[in-house]
Point group: C2
Chain length 270, copies 2
DNA sequence: TAGATCTGTGTATTACTTACACAGTAACGT
DNA sequence: ACGTTACTGTGTAAGTAATACACAGATCTA
């Protein structure tokens, strides 16, 4: 820890942390019995099993069979540990490049992969993180997403902007969905129950005058108060995301076509 | 507090909380000197001034000139207080309906309004919240967004899905941006510094073989390592969001046209 | 083998949420 | 008017958390 790095900048320091560039290997003293990876792995396992709020330094240490303070030999602070967890949680290979040129399918595959990742580590959407991906895993996923998006004909800069929006939308959508699932489970309800409860709650405060469109939604039973018990099928959250993403990809398509039609001379203006 | 409500459901209880439906007015005893609104307002003011991490029950109480425990007469838990803050923070009227039928301008106006809201209360993106809007302010914004989106010709259900994606994307994008701004300020850097630091950090770990597209981005100086000091102009975050949103709206447009062309008989399938 | 360096531990500090009992106050029923 | 009841804000204490600091012992270097 506390290396001789001159990483002036916060982002630069984060890169160093995530790539282990700040760990000078010790030349003397006892062999370390733990490692940064072991600590982070234990934290990830704990978060997987009991959620992010179970992850305290004391608890992680106990899980490893060491004292609380021993962790601080491997990690400067809990905050750093969380940063490391964020990259460690992206522990799956992003989809490989496709043979055909179907970039839309490529992007959708990427999205499915990302959703799987979040579902595997639901705590990761709650990390108090603050920046674009910097770690090895994060950059791998970023690279894969950019690759698919540029195949649409988008220039790299625009692809980056679309990917940022897409990731943001995914992450926050899943945050809400996963949190609702957890709350439902905790209360012994099904997700359909929860959704119905939302509808029932809204009905008590939504009037046609004040909220005409929401009122319309309630009348058309969008929140499934009258729906059967099954959940996750058509109309489930996965479908919701898919629909919105398809519109986004439509938009990319017409943009690229329009650019191409304009003889790619007009620059990047709308 | 602890009303006689039978709100079985978590979402239902949240609606009750946010609309004050759970507060039976006391018939005896001393007049309450505080109120739920006062507590929440103090918490919001504190968060505005010093960030969400400064908001502890002790600190809010001190700000009000009361003891910590007095707050619990007005709020069941800190978690409830945060939920109340989330709605209280949306303290601006959403844009009014436009005269002309320009739904795209309407949506973009809505987005600008939402961004202003987040900028005014930067802490709100860090609230550990978990669900669609339920409070008076949240529903007002939701209604306004749905109104604009349905003007595109989208049915209410699809408009809801698009709005969810849009809000999610906005929220998470701003979360990252605001957090980077804060970190930059805290470290005495400018945002341009931070962005440059990101680029510099990436350069240390990104190879053309492993990350060809990211490498391309670095070569084209997307992260402004060579750029002048000004920030927030063209290429700034606001522009990034705008670009992505315009693609999204393009997508909505072609979808609506396609539906219309299909004689609106084929239902909601792609 | 002496000295420098590193590890894991124990202890203490500070801050946080919240349960609980209590003293005082205002309205209600008689 | 007056006791009863319901409610207020307070004080105290329990339990958990992050982490600074000093130390005993281990291991390498000279």
């Amino acid at each position: 820890m506390a290396a001789e790095q001159q990483g002036t900048n916060r982002m630069e320091r984060e890169v160093e942390l995530l790539w282990g560039l700040d760990q000078p290997e010790p030349r003397r003293g006892p062999k370390p019995k733990l490692s940064r990876e072991a600590v982070v792995a234990a934290a990830v396992a704990l978060a997987d099993a009991e959620g992010l709020e179970a992850v305290s330094m004391q608890r992680v240490a106990k899980e490893l069979g060491y004292t609380t303070m021993s962790l601080y030999r491997y990690v400067d602070s809990k905050e750093d540990m969380l940063v490391l967890m964020s990259d460690a949680g992206m522990d799956a290979e992003p989809p490989a490049p496709r043979g055909d040129g179907d970039w839309r399918a490529g992007v959708e595959e990427w999205v499915r992969g990302a959703v799987d990742l979040y579902r595997r580590h639901p705590w990761s959407v709650h990390l108090p993180l603050s920046g674009p991906p910097s770690g090895p895993n994060g950059l791998r996923w970023m690279e894969a997403g950019l690759r698919e998006l540029t195949h649409s004909g988008l220039d790299a800069g625009s692809a980056l902007r679309m990917l940022m929006m897409l990731s943001a939308a995914l992450r926050d959508t899943l945050r809400i969905e996963l949190e609702m699932e957890r709350a439902a489970r905790a209360g012994g309800e099904t997700m359909a129950d929860t959704e119905r409860g939302y509808g029932r709650g809204l009905r008590r405060v939504v009037t046609e005058e004040a909220f005409p469109t929401i009122d319309l939604l309630l009348r058309s039973d969008v929140f499934g108060e009258l729906a059967p018990e099954e959940y996750g099928g058509a109309g489930g959250p996965a479908d919701d995301i898919d629909f919105a993403i398809r519109r986004l990809l439509d938009g990319v398509e017409v943009y690229v076509e329009r650019q191409r039609a304009a003889g790619r001379s007009a620059g990047k203006g709308e």
